[in-house]
């Protein structure tokens, strides 16, 4: 990595940290405390932006998986794997913050409410993605199986949403927020998104370096695999 890249990178993380600090200050010092839930409600300012970013990270995996199936370039697989890792991390945060909220709102750490179930299934889907990858030895086979999985798993998400809607619900469906709360939510959304994007980029960089060093070890021509003609081996 050259020095300019390094400087931009450092500036990016410093900006993210500064915005996080500002957002935390806003959450605790400026935003009014919610009437019924009290201080615990403040976990919501982390919960919702992270939930949205989980979805975005899953979408990156989906797009990268399609890219791999289409072009068969290893770089797509590296991107898919990196964003799936970040998606699992973010989804774990969503589950944990959601459980903290649930404990104070409903008095239980876990209820089988539709949205909790939805997050749990989403988490399981992408944990399985991470678990199956290392158990396939051939690099091309791994990339192929996981990109097919990446596509099907993302298409599974709306189906999970549809199916959990059949369950009885206690989650808030619409939330009325004071203007200050909306602004705070927005100010939390920016650093969380920057963190997610930065993590995916950092992970991708590492994964790329790993793949390239592995490829040098065996065959450099393995980066692009010619797509076989469909319909036969002729």
């Amino acid at each position: 990595m050259n020095t300019l890249k390094k400087k931009i990178w450092t500036a990016y993380w410093l900006a993210t940290a500064a915005m996080f600090a500002a957002a935390v200050a806003m959450v605790f010092a400026w935003t009014p405390t919610e009437a019924t839930m009290g201080t615990v409600q403040k976990v919501f300012y982390l919960h919702m932006p992270v939930a949205i970013n989980t979805f975005l990270a899953c979408m990156v995996t989906f797009i990268a998986s399609i890219g791999y199936l289409w072009q068969r370039r290893q770089v797509w697989d590296d991107l898919a794997a990196s964003s799936a890792k970040v998606a699992v991390l973010l989804c774990s945060i969503v589950l944990l913050t959601g459980m903290i909220w649930g404990h104070s709102a409903w008095g239980q750490w876990w209820t089988w409410s539709p949205r909790l179930t939805f997050s749990l299934v989403l988490w399981l889907l992408y944990v399985a993605y991470l678990v199956i990858r290392p158990s396939i030895e051939s690099r091309q086979r791994r990339a192929l199986v996981s990109s097919v999985y990446g596509v099907v798993a993302f298409l599974d998400v709306p189906l999970v949403y549809l199916s959990v809607k059949l369950m009885p619900d206690i989650h808030p469906s619409s939330i009325a927020l004071a203007p200050e709360m909306k602004l705070t939510l927005l100010s939390c959304f920016v650093p969380v998104t920057m963190l997610a994007a930065g993590l995916i980029a950092a992970r991708f960089h590492l994964q790329r370096a790993e793949t390239l060093s592995m490829q040098e070890a065996d065959d450099p021509s393995l980066d692009v695999i010619p797509v076989r003609p469909a319909g036969g081996l002729t």
Binding site: V131, R141, D156, L159, L166, M167, G231, G232
Partner: protein, 225 residues
């Protein structure tokens, strides 16, 4: 059209003939299914068993594990003696191979269900009389979606090592929405006595359509001798 149907019938007929003569898979999965029902029945104890509603969950566990074994076996047949290369050299579309495999898997799963379901119904005292056709429709919808994903990933995973655990690992999370939807619909149908609404069935049909179309599109990319 009739040509394609004949080709599909040839592919699945071949699989089912092998199964009929060897009876390797079915014997295994049926016994496994019954064992799962018995183990869960013993584990749940008389109180939970008496409610009857546990039967749908127990049945799904038996179907999921039995199904994964069926998918593995129908694909493993092609791994011997380079059979898959021969199948791929045949002048048929890859989609036909997928459809043929899907039908053989569905046939095996229906055979499994025909034995395991009555066992669970009797052991758990599950009253099917409220809507036997509703039960069959929900299960059929679930099976098609499950077998669609299972057939696709059995082909994807079959050339790798660690097949057994791996296929279950891939297929179970993807099948969770089917399990959620069908158990919820069962709870409404038999627990609360609501009639089987068109909404629930539409959800299941939507699942099957998505799984079938995606699997059919992707199948030819992953088939490798």
């Amino acid at each position: 059209m009739t040509k394609v149907l004949r080709q599909i019938a040839l592919v699945s007929g071949k699989d089912l003939r092998i199964e009929a003569r060897s009876r390797q898979t079915l014997g295994l999965v049926v016994v496994l299914g019954v064992l799962i029902v018995v183990v869960l029945g013993l584990g749940l104890g008389p109180q939970q068993v008496a409610s009857g509603m546990a039967a749908t969950a127990v049945l799904w566990v038996a179907y999921l594990f039995g199904g994964v074994l069926c998918f593995e076996k129908t694909m493993a047949v092609e791994r011997h003696d380079g059979a898959l290369a021969g199948l791929m050299l045949a002048p048929i579309d890859r989609g036909v191979i997928y459809a043929g495999k899907l039908i053989s898997n569905l046939a095996l799963m229906v055979a499994l269900a025909l034995v395991v379901t009555p066992v669970a119904v009797v052991m758990f005292g599950f009253d099917l009389s409220a809507s036997p056709f509703g039960f069959a429709a929900i299960m059929a919808g679930g099976f098609v979606g499950f077998a669609a994903v299972g057939t696709l990933f059995a082909a994807a995973v079959s050339s790798t090592r660690l097949q057994g655990g791996l296929l279950a690992m891939v297929v179970f999370p993807l099948s969770l929405p089917l399990v959620i939807a069908s158990t919820q619909m069962m709870a409404r149908l038999f627990g609360e006595g609501e009639p089987l609404g068109s909404v629930g069935l539409t959800v299941l049909i939507a699942f099957d359509a998505v799984y079938l179309v995606v699997s059919w599109l992707v199948f030819e990319l992953i088939l490798e001798p």
